[in-house]
Symmetry: C2
Subunit: 434 residues, 2 copies
């Protein structure tokens, strides 16, 4: 049972569940919820457990409902462009199944080889393509939910449009299992993405790279991805996967453009100019698909690669695009101040930064310093008009952050909505807010 | 005060408000809500009053808060691509202001020359471009709201991404003034749309046109608009505006494609082929921008043009794209059965149909037949897997429809959420559900 006790958030508290259940149907989920209701036993739903905020961590005396066995892709409707899936379907598996129908499910968290659609919906997961194609929320049309009262309901729709009643399906997205347990999801699909060009830029500092990000936005470009990876991450990936990445830079920006030619070529050249003007030491539009794919694969592997080196506390702030450079500069200063090594990966084009706070194993003093630095990064993001979590969710790690970000009245509204939909307080209690 | 008593929904009940207030600031809205709270007086917020479901109708003893005087466009941020506006800004005015910055606010309800952004958000308005660019919900990033407890709060965000807490901003969208009064809105913007090609098709029947709509979806096309207008609407517009529309067809499909060439030209030809295969009597890719604009202007004017002829009960069902032809055929049969003239306009590419039930003035028997036909159209849409309202909202006219569409448990969830956020029940009571 230990493997169902927590997600991948570092140092987030967790306890032993009294039971782990792996249902294979909505009816089984409902039966578990009803049994738990009868005993007022907390229920913690989880997918693959790849979360980074502790949202799926077991609390004392809870029953964990692991939805990873509900893996059916029930429908892929080419004409209406939607898929109906169970929550345990792995993101990449859905994307592969859709591709066979010439369709595309865009949301692509870096965890896409492992994370599930249910978990993606519960946390409103983002990813690399969000900068042009939006987040999970933008693709959820409807769902089946086991409610806090043990009922099974359908929310949302399967039509292209619909405004019948409150957007309760939308409310469930990102609610981290605190308002209902999602047992089936209808997701919108798009036609397959056009081929992409990759624009790479090397920078002497992450701050220069941050200035390039603002320049891309100021130029009116809409890249299909704009990622930042720093040297430490690339070295860690290379040490692990031996991909032959030899990068002579402290920060790499990886832009992508999927606009068809001739506009696509123009956009790529414009992005290149933005990189150069921000002080890139080297930049190029890649004509080598393999090389480009390797760089993006390295981006996706950065987090697990860093994790191999020791405990990693992962930040997830999101700031206005014009403040990306300033935020990266503050992160550098905070790292120095607290004596913490901070590596950086970022969905830079969205202003969504993932500073990785790296500590030696079993070094309690370093842990305390890292946690203080973590809090300071949150404060800096809020000061710059940002948010404490761009895509990972509040869970346990960002509860203090949420309370700093929103008005006490807004927190009270959260509690009221929670009490309205989970009147017995059994759904993942103690997450998002106390 | 009579002009503030109701919106444009035909035969939806309304009463005289005890007062109409036209505040010019959030603080003034708050002061009114607090005064109403003290007296437990219902508050009905409204924008331009162009709604078609009675959502803004005054109820007995209420205070109407007309937000049409709050018309400031506070910010248009080119780099971050958002605008901050007051709720009374007219949709077309925002679009024009954004265009000066090379930016585009896509949602374009046919009422865009008159309707306000606040009303658009409160009803989650759709429009012509939704088939490719989504609805109002997809563009709302954040807002300021006066709550049911008389507090002023900010919901949502101004960053590209953000998952800090429940999506309460999203919950407000489409809640028709029953959960809060929106006093400021942050909307996402896109770069200006590329030039569009228009593809017109004439059909002997609306059902043939409906088959063309499914064919376009089946061909994997994503038009930037796909509208249906029938002969009766075109004749009514021409009689009013003398636009010289002489159309030798019972139904016209107007498709648009905004993909840059060469792909755009290919898509236009593919759409033309879909029209022809579905039995178009005439079809062409328009090279005459003026002619194309006239046809779309006629589409936008269809509803007010029909209204000049007598009371018009406007339907708003949305069905799966594959059932558009079947739904149009059922609407024809229902019109015959009840002896009601039904004209059709439709955001056909979304499956969102607006049958217009036309009755002679002061003919009570016809009104009763029209209302029965209205209910039967709703039943038919639900049978085909559709929804009772695609974009106009529930208001008063679709309360029965909503109760048919969703499970009683889901209605109970609506009531719980309403009670949670409007504990004194003063915000637009009696709308959406009893």
């Amino acid at each position: 049972m230990a493997s169902f006790e927590h997600d991948e958030a570092e140092w987030a508290p967790h306890s032993s569940p009294i039971a782990v259940v792996r249902p294979s149907s909505t009816e089984e989920v409902q039966a578990v919820v009803r049994a738990c209701l009868a005993h007022r036993t907390p229920v913690v739903a989880r997918g693959a457990g790849t979360g980074l905020s502790g949202g799926a961590n077991a609390t004392a005396g809870c029953v964990v409902i692991a939805l990873d066995a509900m893996t059916a892709i029930k429908t892929i409707d080419e004409l209406e462009r939607y898929a109906v899936v169970e929550p345990g379907v792995v993101n990449d598996d859905l994307r592969a199944a859709c591709a066979e129908h010439g369709l595309w499910y865009p949301p692509d968290p870096a965890s896409s080889p492992w994370s599930t659609i249910g978990g993606n919906v519960a946390t409103n997961a983002g990813g690399l393509c969000c900068v042009k194609y939006g987040v999970t929320r933008d693709y959820v049309m409807g769902m089946q939910v086991v409610t806090g009262t043990g009922d099974v309901v359908r929310l949302g729709r399967r039509t292209a449009k619909g405004v019948a009643g409150y957007d309760l399906a939308g409310l469930m997205v990102g609610s981290e299992g605190t308002l209902g347990i999602i047992t089936e999801i209808v997701v919108k699909l798009r036609p397959l993405q056009d081929p992409q060009r990759t624009i790479a830029g090397y920078f002497d500092s992450v701050v220069d790279a941050g200035r390039a990000v603002s320049a891309v936005a100021a130029a009116g470009l809409t890249p299909s991805a704009l990622e930042l990876v720093d040297r430490q991450c690339l070295l860690a990936v290379d040490a692990w996967k031996n991909m032959g990445l030899s990068v002579d830079a402290n920060a790499v920006l990886l832009g992508r453009v999927d606009t068809p030619d001739p506009a696509g070529e123009q956009e790529a050249q414009k992005m290149l100019a933005c990189f150069d003007e921000a002080g890139a030491s080297w930049s190029a539009v890649s004509t080598d698909q393999e090389e480009a794919d390797a760089l993006f694969a390295a981006r996706r592997l950065a987090y697990p690669a860093m994790e191999r080196l020791g405990p990693v506390l992962t930040e997830d702030v999101c700031v206005p695009k014009r403040h990306v450079a300033e935020m990266l500069s503050r992160i550098e200063r905070i790292g120095l101040e607290y004596g913490i090594t901070i590596a950086n990966i970022a969905h830079a084009g969205d202003g969504n930064l993932h500073p990785l706070l790296i500590t030696p194993r079993d070094d309690d003093a370093a842990r305390v310093r890292a946690q203080a630095a973590f809090a300071e990064i949150i404060d800096a993001a809020l000061e710059l008009g940002g948010t404490v979590t761009g895509e990972h969710g509040v869970g346990l790690l960002k509860k203090d952050g949420l309370a700093k970000e929103v008005d006490p009245v807004v927190l009270a509204m959260h509690r009221s909505v929670k009490a309205a939909l989970d009147p017995y307080g059994i759904l993942n209690p103690g997450k998002i807010f106390d």
